[in-house]
Amino acid sequence: MSVQQPNAERQIWIFTQMLRIRTFEERVKRSFTDHPGVIRGHTHLADGAEASIVGSLSHFREGDAALATYRCHGYPLVLGSDPKAAMAEIFGRVDGLCKGRGGSMHLTDVKHGFLGTSGIVGAGIPHAAGAAWAAQIRRKGNVVLCFFGDGASKQGAFHETLNISALWKLPVIFVMENNGYNVVTTTAQEDANAAAGEPLAVKAKAYSMPGVTVDGGDPLAVYRTVGEAVERARAGHGPTLVESKIYRLSAHGNIIAPPGVPLHYPEHEAIAVFGKREEYEAALRGDPVPRFRAGLVQSGVLTPAKADQLVSLVEKEMQDAVDFAIKSPYPTLESALDYNYA
């Protein structure tokens, strides 16, 4: 199986989606200072994961499904969700994707194939396999993309689900975004494969499925790797574990604090906990968004002027999203108990 390189138009689409995720996340982060108190609880950003998310979702087609974790802002934006509704959800407003019930950790947009997000590490992995069973029964060649982090691969849910998915040849692609940290614990501190110097993709071997490691900062590499896994799944040959190596450019999440303490994003754990400033700065130098832009300019797909124009358009789009969200009303109190039961 081989996946064709995306054409120039598709590469520009990929770049645009990466910009949209990055800019959306910057606006979430900025909201802690622009609009203090508006975002509550815990947010988790996808900056650094853009190439991996967009490269993976480039293969999404009608009838496919995607499920993810509490770090979930990026996927629905690529799948077609309105950033206004996504931001309104994060602001707890009635016009939010989930009418203010879910917030940052639980974005869901069923009409765009984004079936749901669990805030419990690893818990969403079997949900993806269940949706893949549904796809297998329907026999329309649909697949399910299951996104989770390296930390989740230490949960029983991960191992149970990989076993049964391989056994049943379910059309599911397990995309493990390995960002090197489980909150403030490095992967080598909690993962036997990492400690032994092996890639985390070797976990696939225990379940007799292909396991591949890819540079998650390179959208075209992710496009090829996930594309092959998607083809394999559509053809009925079962699941693949893709370890997508990325670097999370923000801290795990905003600070955890009781009401009254202004929320904000602290420094990345590499610096704040481990004092590894150089590691973090190297990651910034390898930032996938400018890196892909430079590549597109170099290959002649994009001119710097066109790239700047895309940046302006996306900035405007996300400014509109913030403006919309801040004006959207809160849900009515009478509706507080709606949706507990169907």
Binding site: A65, L67, G96, L97, C98, K99, G100, R101, G102, H106, T108, D109, V110, K111, L115, G116, S118, I120, A123, I125, P126, H127, A128, A129, G130, A131, A132, W133, A134, A135, Q136, I137, V144, G156, A157, E160, T161, N163, I164, L167, W168, D338, Y339, N340, Y341, A342
Partner: protein
């Protein structure tokens, strides 16, 4: 109407729904391993499958299949096995509809036996009903008769929400009249098993026949007990219970669970708040002792609610 054991009636309920609705799936451990398996033969391996011993994956996959439009029934055998996957039961399946603002529904049935107090010792004998009853988004069915076993299972499968279906292991072979053809028992509608004017007894599962036996003893002593079986504890038919309390003014709540983990404690609180003026005596709960269930037969019998304890409790509320 056909006579059949409780356990067969549950299967009849599943068959009824699988025949009419191709979106119903049935799977679990140690079932469907041969082509002769009743459900495999009828519906095929797409819809009926054996799973590894992986409760988290089984229940989690049921959530995912439900999100994708199917109606899975998970065969879990023992209610305690759900504890292995409690996150999926409590914090995944019942949360997704609410958290998505009503975009999704999660119609699934978790079928599990409970209360197997016949020498199964500490880990396979619990009555964990109350653990599920207080979770918004979950429904909990506890059939006490063969007819209810069929009708509640069918309703559980048609319900658009996650349902914990708890069948009592000690009722497995109890014969009962089960209606032929399509049969559904609504959720949230208690059944008054015995009409009476002097005292209200509320019980579920295996405690229903025990309470009815106690009521027969009491009848010989001239005491007319009403026995109410809520049949589902979430939703709970509080109206029927309060109506009976209005009439009798005296209540005995019988529950096989340990006292502070019992549904009877929840019902007692609701009666105290909403039925206080009708009460002529304090509510009495007859529950299991606060203990792990012992293996040894006399000890096991000693810690469970007995017919004699129910009779004694009724006599106390009538004093």
């Amino acid at each position: 109407m056909a006579k059949m054991p409780y356990i067969a009636a549950i299967d009849a309920g599943i068959h009824q729904e699988m025949r009419r609705d191709p979106s119903v799936l049935y799977f679990g451990q140690n079932m469907a391993t041969t082509e002769n398996h009743d459900f495999v033969a009828a519906y095929g391996h797409d819809r009926v499958r054996v799973t590894p011993i992986s409760e988290t994956a089984e229940i989690g996959m049921a959530v995912g299949a439900a999100l994708a439009g199917f109606r899975p029934v998970v065969e879990l055998y023992m209610a305690e096995f759900m504890l292995v996957a409690m996150d999926q039961v409590v914090n995944e399946a019942p949360r997704f509809r609410y958290m998505s603002g009503g975009q999704v529904k999660v119609p699934l049935v978790l079928k599990a036996g409970y209360g197997f107090t016949c020498g199964w010792a500490g880990q396979h004998t619990g009555t964990l009903t109350a653990m599920f009853a207080g979770i918004p988004g979950l429904k909990v069915a506890v059939p006490a008769t063969a007819a209810d076993a069929k009708g509640l299972m069918a309703t559980a499968i048609r319900d658009d929400n996650p349902v914990v279906f708890l069948h009592h292991y000690l009722l497995t072979l109890e014969q009962g009249d089960v209606p032929d053809g399509e049969y559904l028992v609504p959720f949230g509608v208690a059944d008054v098993r015995r009409k009476g004017a002097d005292v209200t007894i509320v019980a579920t599962g295996w405690m229903v026949p025990r309470s009815l036996a106690a009521a027969e003893q009491l009848a010989k002593q001239g005491i007319d007990a009403e026995v109410i079986d809520p049949r589902t504890v979430a939703p709970l038919d509080l109206q029927t219970i309060l109506g009976s309390v209005d009439k009798t003014g005296r209540v005995v709540l019988v529950d096989q669970a340990t006292r502070h983990g019992s549904v009877s404690a929840l019902i007692a609180a609701d009666i105290a708040e909403q039925g206080f003026k009708a009460l002529k005596a304090p509510v009495i709960q007859v529950t299991a002792a606060d203990t792990t269930i012992p293996y040894s037969e006399p000890l096991e019998a000693h810690v469970l609610p007995s017919e004699a304890q129910i009779v004694a409790a009724v006599r106390r509320v009538l004093k």
